[in-house]
Amino acid sequence: MIFTLLVLIAFQLAGELLIQLSGLPVSGPIAGLLLLLIALTLVPQLAERLRQNVNRLIALLPLLLVPPSVSIIGYGDLLRDHGTAITAGLLISLIVALVVTGLALKGRTRA
């Protein structure tokens, strides 16, 4: 597990560094994700080595999201004022996006 964490932290820091140097408008962890993806393509053994522990970490992702999500306790007024706009925007676009993707791929995914 320590090796996995070390790799992930190293790639996140490398991502942060890349952004500092290049000024690209991408977040550090996303740059780190892309750098790791390139590294895995070049060194497939690394992917096998990381696989098991990474799956364990990703299973905990929802837990990591609990603390930032608790911030909604401060957004009561905002949600009351714009609840309709948020619900309509979410639901309508969700339905359309589901149908558009489904239809775009219908009959085109025979591997």
Partner: protein, 235 residues
């Protein structure tokens, strides 16, 4: 509240303990319900923790600072998403063209439609920037919402709600439009309903799940790169 309880709540481990306990209760409820799609551990954990924070009456910023050891891991775990993305990309390399077209079509539809509708209902830019990344996985949505000057925490909650709604209405809706192939259903679920949709897709079949996971990863990365670039053109 008694002085003793107040002292306990000030211990640096208290809020980490509360959050882990709420999560454990959520996991337990999820299992007990036969892994019901609406009984998500995070929904229950969020509800219980929010009630505890309100009841003890600590400012959110204090709670957030005390639980830093938990959410500090969000960055490394976001980087870790490269690993399943790598394996899933290898799995379906031959289908890259239809998948790329579907990805761009839905990506643009999802973001543009969400923002336009919310704007038509009079939502301010703060809300629009929070809503825009609602179709990508939680940690990436938070990063994008932050980049667009929205509210990352609220974005994470909206992502969760979108995921649950998509996982519930997705499969019957797609079948009604005659979309039967597991890969197409999986891709649609991953693209529109990310993590919860992916879990639902794995319940349909492994192939369905792999396509959902692939799409969740691709959509997350694409949105994280393109949305912050495109946003200033419109606002």
């Amino acid at each position: 509240m008694s002085d003793l309880a107040k002292k306990l709540a000030q211990h640096p481990l208290f809020w980490i303990g509360v959050t882990l306990l709420a999560w454990q209760i959520g996991v337990w409820c999820h299992r007990r319900s036969g892994q019901h799609i609406l009984i998500q551990p995070i929904l229950i954990a969020l509800l219980l923790t929010a009630v505890a924070v309100t009841f003890v009456d600590v400012p959110f910023d204090d709670y957030y600072a005390d639980t830093r050891p938990i959410h500090l891991l969000l960055g490394p775990v976001t980087v870790a998403l490269a690993v399943p993305l790598y394996f899933n990309l290898r799995l379906i390399a031959r289908l890259w063209l239809p998948l790329t077209v579907a990805l761009l079509l839905t990506g643009i539809t999802a973001v543009a439609l969400t923002v336009l509708i919310a704007k038509a209902f009079g939502a301010p830019e703060l809300i629009l920037a929070t809503l825009a990344p609602k179709s990508v996985t939680g940690p990436i949505a938070m990063l994008v919402a932050h980049d667009l000057a929205g509210l990352p925490g609220l974005a994470a909650v909206l992502v969760l709600l979108t995921g649950v709604a998509g996982a519930v209405i997705g499969p019957p809706l797609l079948h009604r439009f005659g979309v039967q192939d597991d890969a197409a259903v999986g891709f649609a679920l991953g693209l529109s309903a990310h993590a919860v949709g992916t879990a639902r897709a794995f319940a349909i079949s492994d192939r369905c799940g792999a396509f959902a996971a692939l799409d969740m990863g691709l959509m997350g990365v694409t949105t994280a790169i393109l949305l912050p670039l495109a946003w200033p053109l419109f606002f």
